[in-house]
């Protein structure tokens, strides 16, 4: 008898499984568990059993009925609700969202990069300073240990401006569009005493013809730290942290010799290739490294020019192209797009 009940229950279970319309399930429930239902019919057989067995079987049958009732209830609540029962009958949640009105505009990609870099350096206790784009030869060259005869002073590289010369003591200096943000080293150090940690981000100019990878107008980030014991090891740590924060991943960096008149020793900093991670690909010309920026320890002649006592301070400085970071991050193919004002380009930066 027990077996008969068990197999009956199993049968029902199977039947319920195949149903997913609540109405049909409820109908089946009546057919099985109703007063004239199949289960009731089955229970009638208990009477014909020996009296000794009856209580046990009766208990078993009751439990089975309870289990079946639960099963039916679960089946009904678990079956798909018809749409009509929803309070949001016509909402298609997979439809595209409705744009805000007016839609948000777009920051320029270089602004995005500039802001992020500023945040990174602020978090490392660097002040963010501003300075002029039109400056004199003193700040842009002379004070940075670039004498008039230096190749970097070539007329081909620098835009000169027909503004009256700036006289300082016995010397007078022409006005130029700054060729780098390094003029800010001079401007900050002339005003402030170490310890110093500063960055300046701004527009720079070089007198060179434009093409897909050259621009006469570009942006640089200048950073420098001056104190009594600043070392090359500190420089490496700072730049590694900066690149890792910007690209949001671990990178390797390496220094190699580089020549810039206002630092000694001077370095080029390479970063492990962001695309291949150092294995070698077309972006890194199969070297595993990409050139990132120029840096070094600030040259003693610069301290002398800004009037710091001789031999008291050491510091590092670095200068980095902002476009390069944006190009690497976004995969921009033509540097001229930045200054193009072309909305088809600008609309892509959220």
């Amino acid at each position: 008898m027990k077996k008969t009940i068990q197999s009956f229950v199993e049968d029902i279970k199977k039947k319920i499984k195949d149903l997913n319309d609540p109405a049909t399930i409820e109908k089946l429930e009546v057919e099985i568990l109703g007063r004239k239902g199949a289960f009731h019919h089955l229970l009638k057989q208990i009477k014909s059993l020996p009296e000794k067995e009856r209580p046990a079987i009766g208990k078993f049958a009751n439990e089975a009925k309870g289990a079946l009732t639960d099963l039916f209830q679960q089946a009904v609540s678990g079956s798909v609700q018809p749409l009509s029962t929803s309070a949001q009958p016509l909402l298609d949640v997979t439809q595209p969202g409705i744009p805000l009105a007016p839609a948000r505009g777009h920051h320029h990609p270089l602004s995005i990069v500039k802001q992020e870099l500023a945040e990174i350096f602020l978090s490392m206790n660097y002040q963010v300073v501003e300075g002029p784009e039109l400056d004199t030869e003193w700040e842009v060259f002379e004070a940075l240990n670039i004498p008039p005869t230096h190749p970097a002073r070539d007329i081909q590289d620098t835009f000169f401006v027909n503004r009256e010369k700036e006289v300082r003591g016995k010397s007078s200096y022409r006005w130029v569009m700054r060729t780098h943000t390094s003029n800010m080293q001079v401007r900050v150090m002339e005003k402030m005493k170490p310890p110093l940690r500063s960055i300046a981000i701004g527009r720079c100019f070089r007198n060179e013809a434009t093409d897909a990878s050259h621009e006469h107008t570009f942006y640089q980030l200048e950073g420098f730290a001056v104190d009594e014991h600043v070392s090359v090891a500190n420089l490496v740590a700072t730049l590694k942290t900066m690149l890792e924060s910007f690209f949001r991943r671990k990178v390797n960096v390496r220094l190699r010799p580089g020549y810039f008149p206002f630092v000694e020793p001077g370095f080029e900093l390479d970063c492990s290739c962001l695309l291949c991670g150092g294995k070698g690909c077309s972006v890194c010309k199969h070297s595993g490294w990409i050139e990132m920026l120029g840096c070094g320890l600030i040259h003693p002649n610069v301290y002398e020019a800004v009037g710091y006592p001789k031999g008291k301070y050491t510091g590092f400085a670095f200068g980095m192209g902002i476009e390069r970071l944006a190009i690497l991050r976004y995969g921009i193919k033509d540097i001229r797009l930045f200054e193009s004002g072309d909305l088809r380009f600008l609309n892509q930066f959220e």
């Binding site: 007016p102 505009g105 777009h106 920051h107 320029h108 270089l110 602004s111 802001q115 500023a118 206790n125 002040q127 963010v128 501003e130 784009e133 039109l134 005869t149 190749p151 620098t158 835009f159 000169f160 401006v161 027909n162 006005w175 569009m177 310890p195 940690r197 527009r203 100019f205 107008t217 730290a225 014991h229 600043v230 070392s231 090359v232 090891a233 500190n234 490496v236 740590a237 960096v253 390496r254 220094l255 190699r256 010799p257 580089g258 020549y259 000694e264 020793p265 001077g266 080029e268 040259h299 003693p300 050491t314 930045f338 200054e339 193009s340 004002g341 909305l343 088809r344 600008l346 609309n347």
Partner: protein, 798 residues
């Protein structure tokens, strides 16, 4: 600069692979840009055997040659050379092979020559870039293996390292194979062999007089007369080496001077002695002096050039014969009949040479080196080496005394080079890792620095003669560090006092305003700081108000912008074909007298562009918590530039604490048309520095009202020219306890009559200490209406 690794081995005998050389040099000395096998095309040119030569059926001068290349069938090639013979071994370039030429690379193709198909080319020496001979095809040794590559047969298994010139601007010594070999020796810790050339013994049968007129520009000059010169090509090995490093072989004498330059880094020059005017008693005279006014010289490249009194020239008795350190003259050049020559090795002032090269617009291998600080000792070594080669390879004999004109200070400097006193602790301080004294000393000695080991931590360091760039203790530290390897420096975080830092307030303003504008739907653009005459014209700006680039790239990029509008209008024009609605802004600098930062915005292609743009600007001010006042700018008050760009009736200026913080206006229709813009444009600019100065946020809010407010709506009709500012002033004068005043609708239409407008206003009254009385509100309303009636003839609209 190109370095031949094969040539390098002569001084740095090691089997280090070119790629490893490049890597180590890049990390320790100078950036190697590329590593390229020499004459790559020769790896594709094959050795063939001429099997038969027959006449071309249709051309007298041509032959049809069957060449065996090791395959089953011979290859037919049409050849015009007169020296082609059966049984010869020749160099064959098959279709697809690329050969170099002076005009650029070219690729061989199968082509039909007068009806016969030629499946390639039998090459001459010149066609292979191996020399100048173009009289016939190159004949290879009979031993050459058929089918082998020419590179194998000629033993041209060299690799060229291309060094980035910028990375060695401060290292004159590295512009040579010996210089690079020295670096390799130190970086790989292996010995090098650089033989010092033997000194030259002078002779007496001829005389050379050298007169240095400008000792500062030429502290050292070595010269000698040589005769019995036998002209001709230089030996193959020399030609191969020169070709490998990008120098065209010319003749044995010129090749030797170039060879020594590539070897030692010291440029040399040889003059044909017969072409130099003789001075008294047959002696040859060389004068080093500044050019005289009006002198001219035709240089080796055939160009007649004017001199300038600042230029240093080499002259004979009467005329300049060379631009010192830059290029020789054509007349005194070595030619195929030269039999005696004057050899020059000089040590010039770098700046003088750089300036004359710049003025001449000539950048030569020689001037590139002379622009750097070179070694006066190497001047002599190179001189000796050239004499030895001229003797050995060109039959030359020394005919005069060696003339050596060296200034006293230079002699003294060479005898007692300057030394530096250093402290070993400085190394550790600057580099950030510890370094033993013995390590420092051994590295410096390997670099050929003289080191006197003083007591405890002191050192006296004397750089070698070829390192004039090392002058400060920082330079010495760099030397040690780069040999150890910068890549081995462990990063260490910078320690120091943490002090509160911030952005400059200008930067802060830019950031905040940009955020508001982007949020409101504006797109940020960047544009150039320069514009040209056409923009001046379109904008009605005066040239005299502008700074000008004295060396602009083009006419369009000549004037420094004094106003943000023109470039933004240009951007509107650029985009208007594709975007009917444009809301743009830019953060930038203008240069009118002083440099100033601006945040400028334009709006085009929307209804009410001015008021919308104004709404955005107001939002910026509110976001910055700056309270401002508006001033209507009359035509006479407007700046000349604004008056020319804008509709003079629409210029509004914003002020805070006595400073103008912004301005806005509608573009004048004429300006709009001149810029080719399709619809009305509103322009606004914020004065970033002024905003930064007045930006002192109060961070205060008003409390939540405790007592209920009384709301009042008024609609009045006033003459259309009455400004809201005036109406508002009247209302505020009468309304006490006014919590909110809002102009919520402006209507102009026939219903209210011509020349009128209707203003609908919400007023909310609230008293902090009591419930505002409705009656009181009615009284105020009455006062306002009466006042408006009196002032403007306003009529209450029912």
């Amino acid at each position: 600069m190109k370095i031949s690794t094969r040539w390098l081995k002569e001084y740095f005998p090691s089997n280090v692979k070119p790629e490893e050389l490049a890597r180590r040099l890049t990390l320790g000395a100078a950036e190697v840009e590329s590593v390229t096998p020499v004459a790559e095309h020769l790896h594709h040119v094959k050795v063939g055997e001429v099997l038969s030569v027959s006449d071309h059926p249709d051309a007298d001068q041509l032959h049809v040659v069957k060449v065996g290349l090791g395959g089953k069938t011979p290859t037919a090639i049409v050849c015009g050379a007169s020296n082609v013979r059966e049984g010869q071994k020749v160099a064959v370039a098959l279709p697809g092979t690329t050969l170099p030429s002076e005009e650029g690379n070219w690729t061989i193709e199968a082509r039909t020559i007068r009806g016969v198909v030629s499946h390639g080319m039998i090459c001459s020496e010149k066609e292979l870039g191996l020399g100048l001979d173009h009289d016939g095809i190159l004949e290879l040794t009979p031993k050459a293996k058929i089918g082998a590559t020419l590179a194998e047969v000629l033993g041209l298994n060299d690799t060229i390292l291309e060094i980035e010139n910028k990375s060695i601007t401060h290292r004159g010594d590295l512009w040579s194979h010996i210089g690079i070999a020295r670096e390799c020796g130190v970086l790989f810790g292996k010995p090098i062999s650089v033989p010092v050339p033997p000194s030259v013994h002078g002779a007496h049968h001829r005389r050379l007089v050298v007169e240095v007129g400008d000792a500062a520009a030429c502290p050292r000059y070595l010269g000698v007369l040589m005769d019995h010169i036998k002209m001709g090509p230089s030996p193959r090995w020399m030609q191969d080496r020169l070709t490998g490093v990008g120098i065209r072989p010319i003749n044995v004498v010129v090749d030797i001077t170039n060879y020594v330059m590539m070897e030692w880094g010291q440029p040399l020059h040889a003059f044909d002695a017969q072409r130099c005017d003789a001075s008294e008693k047959g002696a040859k005279k060389v004068v080093v002096r500044r050019a005289k006014r009006g002198e001219q010289l035709t240089t080796l490249d055939g160009v007649k050039r004017k001199t300038d009194p600042t230029m240093l020239v080499i002259a004979d008795e009467h005329h300049p014969i060379a631009f010192a350190g830059v290029m020789g003259g054509e007349h005194s050049a070595i030619h195929e009949k030269t039999s005696s020559l004057i050899l020059e090795a000089a040590f010039f002032d770098p700046i003088t040479i750089r300036q004359s090269a710049q003025q001449l617009g000539l950048r030569t291998e020689a001037s590139q080196r002379f622009e750097k600080k070179l070694s006066p000792v190497v001047t002599e070594y190179a001189f000796r080496r050239a004499v030895a080669l001229l003797t050995g390879l060109a039959g030359g004999r020394v005919a005069s005394e060696v003339v050596d004109v060296t200034t006293k200070p230079l002699k003294k400097q060479m005898a007692q080079p300057a030394s530096l006193r250093m402290n070993t602790e400085t190394f550790e301080q600057q580099l950030g890792f510890s370094l033993s004294k013995s390590r420092i000393v051994s590295i410096l000695r390997a670099l050929e620095f003289e080191v006197k080991d003083g007591s405890s931590s002191s050192l006296t360091v004397t750089p070698p003669h070829f390192r004039p760039d090392v002058r400060l203790s920082e330079d010495v530290i760099e030397e040690v560090a780069r040999v150890i390897g910068y890549e081995n420096i462990e990063p260490k975080p910078l320690l120091g006092l943490l002090e509160p830092v911030r952005r400059s307030s200008e930067h802060e303003i830019e950031k905040r305003v940009s955020e508001v504008l982007v949020g409101a739907g504006f797109n940020e653009i960047y544009s150039y700081s320069f514009y040209g005459e056409d923009v001046l014209k379109k904008s009605g700006f005066k040239k005299s108000d502008h700074f000008e680039l004295t060396n602009a790239l083009s006419q369009d990029l000549k004037y420094l912008r004094t106003h943000m509008a023109p470039k933004m209008l240009a951007a509107l024009k650029f985009n208007q074909k594709r975007f009917s609605q444009q809301w743009l802004f830019e953060n930038g600098r203008v240069y009118c007298g002083e440099e100033a930062s601006r945040i400028a915005g334009v709006m085009m292609g929307v209804a009410d562009p001015f008021l919308r743009l104004k709404g955005a600007i107001e939002q910026c001010f509110r976001h910055l918590d700056v309270s401002w006042e508006e001033k209507v700018v009359t035509k006479s008050e407007a700046s000349e530039q604004d008056a020319s760009l804008f509709d003079a009736q629409t210029i509004l200026s914003c002020w805070a604490q006595g400073e103008e913080i912004g301005r806005m206006a509608m573009l004048h229709n004429d300006t709009r048309q001149r810029f080719g813009l399709k619809s009305d444009v509103a322009y606004a600019e914020l004065h970033t520095q002024a905003l930064a100065r007045v930006w002192k946020p109060a961070y205060r809010i008003a409390g939540i009202p405790i007592f209920p407010s009384v709301l009042l709506d008024i609609a009045i009709v006033v003459p259309a020219e009455v400004r809201w500012q005036e109406v508002e002033a009247v209302i505020r004068k009468h309304a006490t306890s006014l919590r909110r005043l809002e102009l919520f609708d402006v209507f102009i239409g026939p219903q209210i009559g011509e020349g009128k407008k209707s203003l609908a206003i919400h007023l909310e009254f609230n008293h902090p200490k009591k419930t505002f009385d409705q009656k009181e509100a009615d009284v105020i309303q009455q006062k306002i209406i009466t006042s408006l009636k009196r002032r403007f003839g306003a009529v209450l609209r029912s």
